[in-house]
């Protein structure tokens, strides 16, 4: 079942690549049908999921490289399931969003997208470390091509930067994985959670994993690939980057660093908090200065992910659940905002904030949708982000009052740049003929936003079903993360 969800898109990609002549319309429909089918399958996954149990479900195990215990091992728990669902939800939206804006090499584009979906879902389901690494890296190839072929003006530079940053981080993770595998005698992720590594070993392993996850999240100061990649990627590519790929890094911390290396994770809390705070405040300030819409949202993503990492490393229920929920929220909201930028970009072929103004006069429906996502991004009560940020700040407050206070200033700054941008783009008088000629959103475009809008308010008003999915698993994770596997007595000897 899980393998079907994971590899259905890849099957679709292969069918498309080998079976279909280069016909744009057919390619679009094949991709849409495949992603929709994947989404419905993932809903069945949800309906059969036992939320009361913290263990991995839908387990699948096939020996793969038996000599060293490398197994094809898949399974989901309450932490990974939300991400699988989010991915499966965003993908058909992305395909629809590319319906008209992608006109060249449509077939190749759809193939790359479907392959990407498979690898990303696989990353969230993999329970073998080598399998995880393979999928994690494999994802680079389609994303590299998506940015490089269908991106904007500076796409080659952005694609290279994205690929090489991620690769440089990942190879260090590979070494950490191999060391863990040999010291622990297994590559199985659930089994590794029970193995006590020596403290100084944990520190090095943590740093190895950190190199990869921090680039992906991205944490300051290794975030610089993100604005380039976001700005140059096609709209759907940005949605996937912000909505899902960034979550992979934070998911890595959740799945590996906290439960397998709890002592080192606790040791590094001040370090992570410091980097996250810098990310929240510094990138929010940078976002204030942006002239390009996509860049602004990209920097806001870094800032929001700073909240997430603080939540995860608060080591309490509120922080963790808030962090996970905020990742889902950010996927919904940043995804929505990038789609909104895409809508005007398709019409005006610019993303420069100064060239807009008065859009609300010409596109009232668009303006309403834009407002809802802006308010959610700012964290207005009643929207999803409020719940996530509130939980994170609560968790942070329990962990460290100073950090919570400092992080809260990020909310103020966030409101500043989002509202400033909203005013510049939508209000004011219509100044240019381009804006005067704009048409409001079409039915296809409205359809894109409906599921995201539903989520914004659903999570905003009644988050309990979403929190329920993760509750049991988070509790178990907390127990693992708070166990003292080995003493920290050697910490002084190390540094």
């Amino acid at each position: 079942m899980l393998s079907l969800v994971t590899f259905l898109p890849l099957i679709g990609a292969l069918v498309l690549f080998f079976g279909v002549k280069d016909n744009p319309q057919v390619s679009r429909y094949v991709a849409l049908v495949t992603t929709l089918a994947t989404f419905f399958l993932s809903l069945r996954l949800l309906s059969g999921f036992d939320t009361a149990s913290p263990v991995f479900q839908y387990l699948e195990e096939v020996p793969w490289l038996p000599a060293y215990g490398i197994t094809y091992r898949m399974g989901v728990d309450g932490i990974s399931l939300p991400f699988v669902l989010l991915t499966a939800l965003l993908m058909p939206i992305c395909i629809l969003a590319s319906w008209q804006s992608i006109q060249k090499q449509v077939k190749g584009y759809m193939v790359a997208f479907l392959a990407l979906e498979s690898f990303v879902i696989g990353v969230f389901c993999a329970l073998d470390f080598i399998l995880f690494y393979i999928l994690w890296e494999a994802m680079l190839i389609p994303m590299f091509l998506l940015i490089g072929i269908w991106g904007g003006k500076n796409r080659v530079y952005a694609a290279f930067k994205f690929f090489l940053y991620t690769l440089a981080g990942s190879v260090l993770m590979l070494i950490a994985i191999l060391v863990m595998g040999f010291k622990g005698g297994t590559f199985s992720i659930p089994a590794l959670m029970g193995i006590p590594f020596a403290f100084d070993m944990q520190v090095w392993l943590f740093l190895g994993l950190f190199a990869s996850f921090a680039v992906k999240v991205p944490m300051w100061p290794v975030h610089t690939w993100l604005p380039d990649a976001h700005v140059e990627a096609p709209t759907a590519g940005s949605v996937i980057l912000a909505g899902i790929l960034l979550k992979m890094g934070a998911y890595g911390f959740l799945r590996f660093s906290l439960p397998i290396l709890p002592d080192a994770s606790r040791f590094f809390v001040p370090f992570i908090f410091a980097l996250s705070l810098v990310a929240i405040i510094y990138t929010a300030l940078v976002a204030l200065m942006q002239k390009d819409l996509k860049k602004l949202i990209a920097y806001s993503s870094v800032s929001h992910m700073g909240f997430v990492t603080i939540g995860l490393f608060a080591f309490n229920q509120q922080g963790l659940e808030g962090g996970i929920l905020q990742m889902v929220n950010h996927g919904v909201v940043a995804g929505g905002l990038f789609l909104l930028v895409g809508v005007v970009y398709d019409r005006m072929h610019t993303r420069e904030i100064a060239r807009f103004g008065g859009l609300a006069h010409r596109m009232p429906v668009y303006a309403v949708i834009f407002m809802i996502f802006t308010m959610s991004s700012v964290g207005l009560p009643g929207t999803n982000s409020f719940i996530g940020e509130f939980l994170i700040l609560m968790g942070a407050f329990l962990a460290s009052k100073g950090v919570a206070v400092a992080a809260a200033t990020g909310l103020v700054l966030g409101a500043a740049y989002m509202l400033w941008m909203f005013k510049k783009v939508l209000f004011g008088v219509v100044r240019s003929d381009e804006v005067a000629a704009l048409q409001d959103v079409t039915l296809r475009e409205v359809v894109l936003f409906v599921p995201l809008l539903v989520l914004v308010f659903w999570i905003g008003f009644y988050p309990a079903p979403f929190l329920n999915i993760m509750h049991a698993s988070v509790e178990q994770l907390l127990i693992q993360a708070n166990t003292i596997k080995v003493g920290t007595a050697t910490a002084a000897a190390l540094f």
Partner: protein, 482 residues
């Protein structure tokens, strides 16, 4: 008076004898029949290689045996390496026929020289004594020197051959000097004899160490490990492309087999001495390969630097000193052969359409020939070690062996260099996919090219996804070695 028959088991030698005879028959054919039979000669050569493979497979699984007074060893490692050698000779021959006809190079000597160098390589692989090793090496090298200079009306080809010859002779001299020192210190040229000498020795003379170092250096030259790699870019660039494909893979297989023989049979007890030396060379090779390739605009030069980087990984696998490491060398060699053959075959296909060796000439290939572009980028991503392709499995096993042996620093260095190396592989993908051009790319892909491309693409894909068969083979091979 009883006649003492020499210890000669022809069954063990049958693949070598068969190929040598085939080469001589082809030589006679080319002398008498001349140009009209050249199509037939290619078919005969490739068919002969298939038959030799069958002969080899015939006594697979039998216990290790020696003949010619211990000078010739037939064991599982030798058989595995010989299989690789047959593939590494057969596939380049298969894909070079169109190229040879087009450039008017297809006189019979081409096949004869290829086969003779194969015989030399196979002898090297089975060498039980340093002298047999040297003879095999020289037969292989001399044939390859001539092949490199095969396009004799081209200045660059002649230059490549001459350069290869001069530097190669120097390396042979060093190797031979090393062998003589070893003989001086131990009193034997037999590989097993040196091993026994070391087991009994109470102290190791510096002369023996110097001899061992010189032998290692001589072979490092053959695999183009830095800092003995200077010849590689020029020779790769100047030699005809079909010969470059051959040079890139065949001698490496033979040389690593020789490393196995020398380092694990003769000098196993000196691991503490040659281990660090080869690790240093490995790091140097990784660095030279990664940084040297960045500035290259010619695809053949780029592949030369890339092969230097691959040798760095192979050397790491060799120095780990555990079964996993030795196994990883075989895995890496196998996968490397198919990745290289695939890439060079695409070069030949494009060459047929009049596309030169400049990487920039490939701009816009993806638009006109999506399948060729897909294959090329697949081989490049595989060489860069991106999963789920076979190149990743190759690197993974080397890294596993290094971590297993506790050489974590070396593993970290090697992955960092491979991240640097990814840049230039990506540049090729970028040019193929992102750049625009007016080039029509209207060439036809012949049957033999289709076969070679299909085989190498199959191995690169399946080797990445389902490598367990390959892993089992290599494990069975190395478990009983030495």
């Amino acid at each position: 008076m009883a006649v003492q028959l020499p210890d000669m088991n022809l069954v063990l030698l049958s693949p070598e004898i068969f190929i040598a005879l085939l080469a001589m028959v082809l030589l006679l054919m080319s002398a008498w029949r001349g140009k009209e039979s050249r199509g037939l000669m290619g078919t005969l050569a490739i068919g002969g290689l298939l038959l030799a493979g069958l002969l080899l497979a015939g006594h697979s699984g039998s216990a290790p045996a020696t003949t010619l007074g211990g000078g010739f060893i037939d064991d599982s490692m030798a058989r595995f390496m010989k299989m690789l050698l047959l593939v590494a000779t057969g596939l380049p021959l298969l894909m070079s026929r169109d190229y040879l006809t087009q450039h008017d190079l297809d006189s019979g000597e081409y096949f004869v020289l290829s086969l003779f160098s194969l015989v030399g390589a196979m002898t090297m692989v089975s060498a039980g004594s340093f002298l047999v090793l040297y003879l095999g090496l020289e037969l292989m090298s001399l044939s390859i020197y001539v092949l490199a200079a095969y396009q004799r009306d081209q200045l660059r080809s002649s230059e490549a051959g001459l350069k290869y010859f001069i530097l190669g002779s120097l390396a042979s001299g060093i190797l031979l000097y090393g062998i003589s020192l070893i003989y001086g210190a131990t009193g034997t040229v037999m590989i097993a004899g040196v091993g026994d000498f070391l087991k009994a020795a109470t102290h190791i003379s510096p002369v023996l160490l110097l001899g061992a170092a010189l032998v290692v250096i001589g072979i490092c030259f053959k695999v183009a490990a830095a800092p003995f790699h200077m010849w590689a870019p020029d020779v790769y660039e100047g030699a005809p492309t079909s010969v470059t494909a051959f040079i890139a893979i065949m001698p490496k297989v033979a040389a690593f087999a020789a490393f196995f023989r020398i380092l694990l049979e003769a000098f196993a007890l000196l691991h503490a001495h040659w281990g660090p030396m080869l690790q240093l060379l490995a790091v140097a090779s990784l660095a030279a390969g990664a940084f040297g390739a960045i500035a290259q605009s010619n695809i053949k030069r780029l592949l030369a630097y890339s092969s230097i980087g691959h040798v760095g990984f192979l050397l790491i696998g060799l120095t780990t000193g555990n079964l996993l490491g030795h196994q990883s060398v075989l895995i890496y060699l196998t996968i490397y052969i198919f990745m290289s053959v695939g890439a060079f075959c695409l070069l030949l296909v494009l060459n047929k359409g009049g596309i030169g060796d400049e990487i920039q000439d490939y701009a816009g290939l993806a638009k006109k020939r999506p399948l060729l572009a897909f294959l090329m980028s697949m081989f490049m991503f595989s060489m860069a070690g991106i999963p789920p392709l076979a190149g990743f499995i190759a690197k993974l096993y080397v890294l596993m062996a290094a971590v297993h042996a506790g050489m974590i620093g070396l593993a970290v260095i090697s992955v960092l260099f491979s991240a640097v190396g990814a840049f230039y592989y990506l540049r090729i993908v970028k040019i193929i996919y992102f750049d625009q051009s007016e080039e029509p790319f209207a060439m036809e892909v012949g049957l033999s090219h289709r076969v070679v491309l299909a085989v190498s693409a199959f191995v690169v894909l399946v080797g990445g996804l389902f490598p367990s068969r390959l892993l089992a083979w290599t494990q069975a091979t190395m478990q009983s070695f030495p």
